[in-house]
Structure formats: structure tokens, C-alpha cells
Symmetry: C2
Subunit: 422 residues, 2 copies
């Protein structure tokens, strides 16, 4: 099988590339060049039939929502509900992080019922039935990668850049290792006193990725779990190794993106993004948050929206949402919705600041609708129609263009109304 990069190098342009170019408002040649050079990825398993999206330089900022079962909460209908809520709220991709129940059956439902880019962390499923990380091995891992590839997974997080030499740096931290995949690999390396099997056997992983045209998402097992650990030797050490793996993916014509933090205070976000782009030669950057402070539990979607907006402004391409439940519990459907919309606001704000025509239009139409007291148009344009209506406590509809509007903020004192009288 040939990968998308193979095809584009040979001058073949799949239909979906034309569609993406039109959707993004960039020309096909530019998009093709960016995919070939690795600055844009289109995550798409060649067994997954759907409309893929582009992530990276010159494209709109995309948003991911994490979902999936845990041993304590294993209701697949509920998880499908969350995925639908995420998509409805504007998620561009979802990651299924399920670690309990009939995961394969769930994947079929996701690719069947939900027409969206799907990512996984294969290590999670590989760990099921394994008593402790020490028993993990490359064969078991590759088997899961292949199984998930067969199921149509479009991108996979692989924590192959976390090496033995980085562990001492992590041990100096306030909050050591907070990535679940990273913690498993540290435990494995400590026990076996050997180099990471993901790193040692990276070519075998790449082989499967080539076969199914899966996009590698190089995980940051040492992402900082608190602002005090941000941009430290552990994080940037792993980033150097990830930079090397980016080149190995590219040499294999396998698409690759890079995952990033985490918790980063405002003043270190720019350095964080610029380093990633430099060390990883422009590979798309996929950040979790980042959270600009540590004690906003219950409101981490807001701390993440601030960090995400700044990160995207400085060059991050793909925002993994953070929900208000972060650090406290598995997210509910409502948490998923709140989390996606917070990231969506960060993403759209950055797209607007880059003069994205679609964003300019939507913002302008909303502003014109406000000026015209057109509440129907405002509802249609609002980021969340449901919440818009709930807040407006709208009793009647059909009030288009009616200046006797339902907002209770100012009443007769409404400035817009006042000025329009003249």
C-alpha cells in the first residue's frame, strides 16, 4: 500500500485533498506541498471512509476531545453520546482512550456512527490483561497497533521519544510524570534497565503505520504536569528525541505530528511552541491545553482556553480540549460539551486573528444581527444555540428584527436601541 505522501509525491491527488483545500480556502498545490514537507497532516487510515481534515501550518486550528471507558465507568452508549456532543459542539477529532469493555465493538460504532477523525493511545489497550507494565513487550504492543489499525484508527499516540536518559530529569521534578503512557514506559525502563522498546522497535511500528497510512502522533510522556515543571530539561530532552523520530517518520513517508504540554505558564508558551517547531522541523503541534495555572480545578477548561489561544497564536495547530472535570473525575457529557466549546473559542479566536474569511464572516454576521436585534440570526450564529436560548430565557420565537427584544440586561437603557431611535 502507498501512503498519502507517496501518492502526492507521484502527482496523484485524492479527492479529499481537493475538498480540504476548498474547505480551508488554500490552493491544492500549497496544501500538497505542505503535506509532503510534513508541515500539514491529514490523519486518515486507508480503511476509514470519511471526510478527513488537515492539521498544521496555514490551516484552521483544530480541536480534539478525549473520551472512552474506564473500569469504573463502562457504558458505551454514554461514550457515544459524549462523542456526538463533542462533534455537535465543534470537535474536529476524537481520541478513544477506552481501557475497559468491548473496545473493538466500540471502535466499530465510532467509525460507523461518527464521521470524524479518530485517534487512540494503543498502549492503553495493550495494557489490558497485563498485570504490570514490566510485562509489556513489543510483540504485544504491535499486535494492538495492528488490531487498531484494522479498526480504522486514523492517528495513534506513541510515546517513543521518552528514553532512559530522560528519567533522571523527570525525577527532579515537582510532579514527575503525569502522562499515563509515559509512566508505563518509565516503569518498564526502570525495571528492565533497558532502552524503551517503543524507541528500539520504532521501525516495526512505522511499518504498520505505512501499511494503513496511520499518522503518528509522537506523545510527550514527560509533559509537565505543573507550571513549575514547564520547559524543563525533561521536557526538552524528550523533545530532542521526538525531533529525531519525526525525521524517521518522514523518511518512511508516514505522516507525523508532535504532542505537547500540559501545564505551562503564560510567559513560557512562546518558547515552548517555537522550540517544538524548530526541533521537529515544522511538524504540526498538538497541545493539551496548555493550562496556564495549576489550581483552577473545576475551571481547567478556562485555564486551558487561555493557554490554547496563546499556543495556537504562537504556532500550535491542534488543541486537545481540557474539561472542567480535569484533575477530578472522568468528564460527563456536559463536561465534554463545555470542554470542546472552550477550546473551540480559543481556536476560533486565533483563526479570526489570522483573517480567516469564514471567521470574519461569522463574527460580522453576529455583530450585524445584534445591531438589527435579529435574535433568530444571533441564535443561529451562536457557538452553542442551546445555551444561547437558555440564557435568553426566550419565551417566543419569530422575533426577527424586533427591537422589543428578550435580553434583560439593559431594557430601555440598551445603547444600540437608544442610538437607533435617531
Amino acid at each position: 500500500m502507498s501512503t498519502l505522501i507517496d501518492e502526492l509525491q507521484q502527482g496523484n491527488t485524492p479527492d479529499f485533498i481537493n475538498r480540504i483545500a476548498a474547505d480551508e480556502g488554500i490552493d491544492v498545490r500549497t496544501l500538497t506541498d505542505k503535506i509532503i514537507s510534513g508541515r500539514v497532516v491529514v490523519c486518515r487510515n486507508n480503511r476509514h471512509r470519511f471526510d478527513p481534515i488537515a492539521i498544521g501550518e496555514g490551516t484552521r486550528i483544530k480541536v480534539n476531545a478525549n473520551l472512552g471507558t474506564s473500569p469504573t465507568q463502562c457504558d458505551f452508549d454514554n461514550e457515544i453520546g459524549k462523542i456526538k456532543a463533542a462533534i455537535h459542539s465543534g470537535a474536529d477529532a476524537v481520541m478513544d482512550l477506552s481501557i475497559a469493555g468491548d473496545i473493538s465493538g466500540f471502535r466499530k460504532r465510532i467509525t460507523g456512527e461518527c464521521n470524524i477523525t479518530l485517534g487512540t493511545v494503543p498502549m492503553y489497550e495493550a495494557m489490558i490483561g497485563v498485570d504490570s507494565p514490566e510485562q509489556m513487550n513489543i510483540d504485544r504492543f504491535l499486535k494492538v497497533v495492528r488490531k487498531q489499525a484494522e479498526e480504522g484508527v486514523d492517528f495513534m499516540t506513541i510515546h517513543a521519544g521518552l528514553l532512559r536518559k530522560h528519567i533522571p530529569f523527570a525525577e527532579k521534578r515537582v510532579l514527575g510524570v503525569v502522562s499515563r503512557g509515559g509512566a508505563i514506559m518509565v516503569q518498564w525502563m526502570r525495571h528492565h534497565q533497558r532502552e524503551s522498546f517503543l524507541y528500539e522497535h520504532f521501525d516495526a511500528i512505522l511499518e504498520i503505520a505505512r501499511e494503513y497510512d496511520i499518522t503518528m502522533s509522537l506523545g510527550d510522556g514527560l509533559r509537565p504536569g505543573c507550571t513549575a515543571d514547564a520547559n524543563d530539561a525533561a521536557q526538552f530532552g524528550e523533545l530532542e528525541a521526538i525531533g529525531e523520530l519525526v525525521q524517521r517518520c518522514r523518511a518512511a513517508n508516514v505522516q507525523v505530528m508532535v504532542e505537547g504540554p500540559g501545564h505551562v505558564p503564560l510567559h513560557l508558551i512562546e518558547e515552548n511552541i517555537r522550540k517544538q517547531k524548530a526541533i521537529c522541523d515544522g511538524a504540526p503541534f498538538y497541545v493539551l491545553g496548555p493550562l496556564v495555572m495549576d489550581y483552577a480545578a473545576g475551571y481547567d477548561h478556562i485555564a486551558g482556553a487561555i493557554g490554547g489561544a496563546l499556543a495556537a497564536w504562537f504556532g500550535a495547530d491542534f488543541l486537545c480540549y481540557v474539561t472542567p472535570a480535569e484533575h477530578l473525575r472522568l468528564p460527563t457529557t456536559d463536561d465534554v460539551r463545555e470542554g470542546v466549546i472552550a477550546s473551540r473559542i480559543a481556536a476560533s479566536a486565533v483563526d479570526l486573528s489570522r483573517q480567516n474569511p469564514r471567521e470574519i464572516r461569522r463574527n460580522l454576521e453576529m455583530s450585524e444581527a445584534r445591531n438589527a436585534f435579529d435574535w433568530e440570526a444571533q441564535e443561529r450564529l451562536a457557538i452553542d444555540k442551546g445555551k444561547f436560548c437558555k440564557y435568553l430565557e426566550k419565551v417566543e420565537s419569530g422575533q426577527k428584527g424586533d427591537s422589543e427584544h428578550p435580553c434583560s440586561m439593559c431594557g430601555d437603557w440598551c445603547a444600540i436601541k437608544r442610538i437607533r431611535k435617531h
Copy 2:
């Protein structure tokens, strides 16, 4: 009566200045110099006995919450509840924007029950009983300013920088005038075909301000109401006039700050703040949001937190909250809480990025509590204990240092737990 600036110039240092300097971690001399030069204000009516705060260069970012009655919602107990919720959530100041009911009685309750910096927009109360803005005049206005000064109001928003010559610029906008005070002045100037009475009689206003040592907050009647109108000729034209008024306040030894937008896309925030600081010679900048997009109604506190963080990062000093109810309805107590905390996150994130020792300590303690699975400490340090507990669905307390913790996110997969086993 002498003003705070008079006193400081004469070498007298009131106790509250020593207290503020200690609280902010800056030395008294520096604080004094900044107040005298107008780069920091301490809003404090000389009839109001309370612990005032400093706003401006080198001090922590402060947060304001707007509250008050409207003709449709006039329950003062409810408004007092909102003020208490705002203070509990971390507001540093409140503005009472009441336009209905026994406002004077309410003010007494605020200064009595709530030990916090209090601001108003005197034009609102001045308009009560007036059929239309055309009937407003300087005598009526000054009477209200004096009455509010007697009631102990610490800072007052005065829209005196909006001049006749600015109106044509506002008329070219997508969303004209969205400031209630601004709209009243535009209507008055259009009708009378005369210059703003606030501008013409600014000295009379200053005289009262001197008498009660009230801080002037120069309102931006032409703040952009949508991102398309940001940083336009209307806004910057008014800002030039405000810059002149800043100098007039300083010449009278009356403290002064400047109000700003509003709706500003990400890429225009830096210019907006830098212009204000340049034109107004370093006067403290008090921004509303700014909102980085227009269609986030229901989530405008998040759009405002992103804009507020960026604005403060570039030099804004004082953030007026935006609640999720913005553009839709008067905020409820819950909306007030959500709005204050969103602004608080923006403010604290910027303080952390500037190495504020208190912020560093609280973030570090939270991170250490996470590492130690000390859930009691986490609850104590969390930005909102109530929400922290609600999310945690905590059944039992007294689990300090217990690694069998109540978070349902990862269970046995918890990375921190995993690594700590070794």
C-alpha cells in the same frame, strides 16, 4: 480636603499605603512614586473606611464585578448576595450599576456589609426620572456625583472623552455605540448640537472628586462592541481626548484610570494596550474583557478570560469581568461567580507569569498536594472549593495523603500513583 496625592507629595504616608505595599510585596517608596506619577491608583473615597487596593503598574492584576438593579429585576437582597459571591470568588472591586429602587439605601448596605472598593457610573442614577437624555444637564449630573461621593463611592466612570467630532466615526461602524453612558452622550450632543457637557464642565466634576478624593475612571463611550470595530478611528479618537483629561486630573492631584474595550480580536490587543499606555502616559488601564470573538454568547466569560489574560500580559491592570450571561440577560449569582472566577484565572495566570511570589507559592503547593494525593490541601488551594468538591464527588473527608484517592479520571492507571510505587 487634601487628596492622597497631595498627602504623598507632602511626605505623609497613610497606614493603608504601608499595608498595600506589604501586601503587594513592593517597597513603600516605589508605591508612593507610582501613585504620585499616576501609574498606580488607590481608589478610596475619604469618607469610606475600608482596606483599599492598588491598581496599576507593578501591582497584582485586579478584578472588578458589575452588579446592580434594573427596572425588571430590583431585589437588593439578591444584589447583596451577588456582591458577596463576587468577593468570595476573588473580586477586588465591584461597580454598582443600579438604575432602580432605593439606590442610596443599597449603597449604604454595600459600604456597610461589603468591605470592598466601590465604583459607579453616576450617569445611570442621574438619568432616573429623566424622560430622555436630551433633558440631562450638568447641574443634575453634578448633584448625583456629589450625592454618590457622600455615599462613599471610591471611583466613578465619567464618559467625558466622547466628543462631537467623534460621532461621525462611530456612525461608520458595524455596531455604532454599545456603551450605555456613551449612547446617552451621543444622543445629547446630537440633539443640542453642542459639545459634551461632561467635557465642558470637567473641572466642576474634578472639584467634587478632589473634595472626596474620588478616583476618576475615564469611560470609553466608544468602546468597540464587535471585533470588526476594534482599534478604529472612533475608539482611538476618543482615547486622544481621554489622554488630555488624564493630564487634567493629574494637574488637580486627582487619581485617574482609563477604561478600555470591549471586543478586540487577539492580534489587535497588544496595539490597543500600548496605545492606551502611551496616549494616557501610563495611567492604569481598566478593560472590559476584552472579548476575542463576537459569537460566544453563553460563554463570553471564556472569550473574555482569553482577552483579559492577553490584555493584562501586555499591560492592562484591572479586568472588568464578563459573565456567561453577557449579551443575553442580567447575571444571576451563579453567573457572577463564573464571571469573577474566569477573570480571576486570567489575572492570576498573568501574575504567575510575572513571578509573583504568592502565585508561585499557591501553584507550587497545589502541585505538591497533587503529588502527595493530599486532597484536603488541594481543596483548600483550589480556586473554588465548592466546585472542586462537587466535581470530586467526594464521599469522605480526612483522606489526607491517602493514595486511594477519590478522582475517577484514571483509577489504577494514575500516572503519579504508578511512578510513586517505585
